[in-house]
Amino acid sequence: MKTYTYPQSQTLFKRAAAVIPCGIPGHMSPAANVPVSDYPFFAAHADGAKFWDVDGNEFIDYMCAYGPMILGYNNPVVNKAALNQLEQSDCVMGASPRMVELAEFLVDLVPAADWAFFAKNGGDVTNYSVMIARAATGRKKITMIAGGYHGVAPWMQAPGHAGLIEEDYRNIIRLKWNDFAGFERAVAEHPGQIAGFIATPYHVPAFYDSELPEKGYWQKVEALCRKEGIVLIIDDIRHGFRLDMGGSNEYFGFKPDLICFCKALANGFTISALVGSDALKNDAARVFYTGSYWYQAMPMAAALACLSELKRIDGPKLMLDAGERLLNGLTESARSHGYDLKVSGLPSLPYLRITNDESLMLHQDWCGECTKRGAFFTSHHNWFLSTAHTDDDIAKTIEIADDAFAAIKAKYGDRYSTR
């Protein structure tokens, strides 16, 4: 099978590095993809479940722009709604009626929502949720899960990272995922001091297997939060609308006080949302929080179209089913080559890992070999399915994966044997 090269990406990166810190900073940094030489850096155009890089290479995309793409790139329904709105108004003096319509839509769609608030990025609303929790409780401390990711505000980052000061993380208590006893201990050790508990619906740490909640975990967390007056915040930015249209908490059967949405909300148009319970509406109102572009109407129109379409086609079920077909094919292919490909998380946003090599180096090589054959896989992060991934895409992906398994087998021989 032909493999790709990326001369244009690499040339463009040199220009980028001259004028932009890191060249491509943040989560799109090529540094996360190992080996770097197997990956494209710059995308030229995209359609459906595919994108094409600046070298003209075609990829079936299993990262979906790290989650925002959910109905397929260039989705005609969403794009039409967005462009129609752009012709009318976008960033103008005054809020758009689309904002009200979108808030009403979310309140109707999400059982835990009595109100909605809009911003741009996921970090905007996770930060807002924590401010609301503090405003509502008059407390300082926030509990979060070690290895969890909620954005890049100083309190969200690990201690020691550049630009942080000690005070940024003094009031953050990091707990182990699924460790309810640990949460109980934290509450006992900090009586009346914990404002909020923030976590993703299930744990999706980079470089490690995803972990689903143990039976009863969320229900116990919810009960303790209620008892102690702690605001329960779900960061549904990554999982949102890929498990359940009513919010991922519905999938796991519990009710948070605040839910943060972003990524899949508008199929790539720039918007995030915080929804919450009526009990916190006044506290949300008391927190002053805004941004220059938070009233843009075009992303709101896109979100309305995206959510309506996802609801109409039962998007979460389509993605869970497509993910199941993909994962069955990949794990079977792995087995036929003598590898154990472990799947964790749920099929619409799975994390995969070849277990034959604990260091991940073999897995990194396989993901790189797949990518340079046209199936864009990362080795460090959960993947994302979309409703645009067709059976043909999945069949081609399995064919690519099979060739990539053969390539790593040829490279390593029996060094990594089947367990």
């Binding site: 990166f13 060249g23 900073p25 850096f41 020691g160 980079a206 490690y208 180096m361």
Partner: protein
């Protein structure tokens, strides 16, 4: 743990450690130390201990006590040791008065040589031999310092708590130097040379790339994307070490 105490640990266990490599890799120091047979114990009140031992043309630097040292140097406090390292104070000799001439005249020739290699200028770095030694010492200082900071520095401890068991290899391609850190429950070991089965690797394309990064002249993300630096394996181990590396200049500027 005070700033001065952590700095004293770094001075003894990361900076002076370079004497081993200096004697091995710098011909001038090797010739100087060829016939030295002496061991020096450094004892700091309420602080770390370390020893330097010269014998058979080699140097050994280690933590803790030396068996039957020729000389014992005492420091009243960690700050006293740090001032000595900065050249503004003298140690208090407790044993080995007859060897004081060695300490006053011979030994400083080696430490001056080390200082020369630890304080690069652009002009000095233009010499490939100097570049190679400065790179070796910078890498060694950094890796030994990571161990100390993981154990002693508050931010280092917080980051180290998330580093799983395993080995992280740092290597300058193609032929080294290489060093690795072995993380075990509650302990961290620094080993010079290659690792057999590292959990994570950070490979520098060549001496120049390694030198630039170790001397803070470039950013790692750009270097990785440009394939000047290659990382593989359990990358969170490297990610957790990076903020610890950033702490070194707070103590050793």
């Amino acid at each position: 743990m005070t700033h001065q105490l952590i700095k004293a640990h770094l001075n003894l266990h990361a900076v002076l450690q370079n004497l081993e490599d200096l004697v091995e890799h710098d011909p001038q120091t090797a010739a100087l130390a060829e016939d030295w047979r002496i061991s020096v114990q450094f004892t700091v009140k309420k602080g770390p201990r370390a020893f330097i031992s010269f014998a058979d043309g080699a140097c050994q630097v280690g933590p803790g006590k030396c068996r039957r040292p020729s000389v014992i140097l005492y420091f009243k406090s960690p700050e006293h040791l740090n001032r000595m390292m900065d050249g503004t104070a003298n140690p208090i000799p407790l044993k080995g008065m007859t060897r004081l001439p060695f300490l006053a005249k011979e030994f400083p020739r080696a430490t001056d040589r080390l200082e020369h290699f630890l304080k690069p200028t652009d002009e000095l770095l233009a010499d490939p031999d100097y570049l190679a030694l400065n790179t070796r010492f910078s890498l060694s200082t950094a890796v030994f310092a990571v161990r100390e900071l993981c154990l002693l520095d508050e931010v280092g401890q917080l980051n180290a708590a998330h580093i799983p068991k395993g080995t992280v290899l740092f290597k300058v391609l193609p032929d080294g130097p290489a060093m690795h850190l072995v993380f075990q429950r509650g302990d961290i070991e620094v080993v010079k040379g290659e690792a057999k089965q590292p959990s994570a690797v950070m490979l520098f394309k060549n001496q120049q790339v390694a030198n630039d990064l170790l001397n803070g002249k470039g950013d790692a993300f750009t270097a990785i994307a440009a394939e000047d630096v290659m990382i593989r394996g359990r990358i969170p181990m490297i990610e957790a070490i990076n903020p610890i590396l950033d702490r070194i200049p707070l103590y050793l500027s």
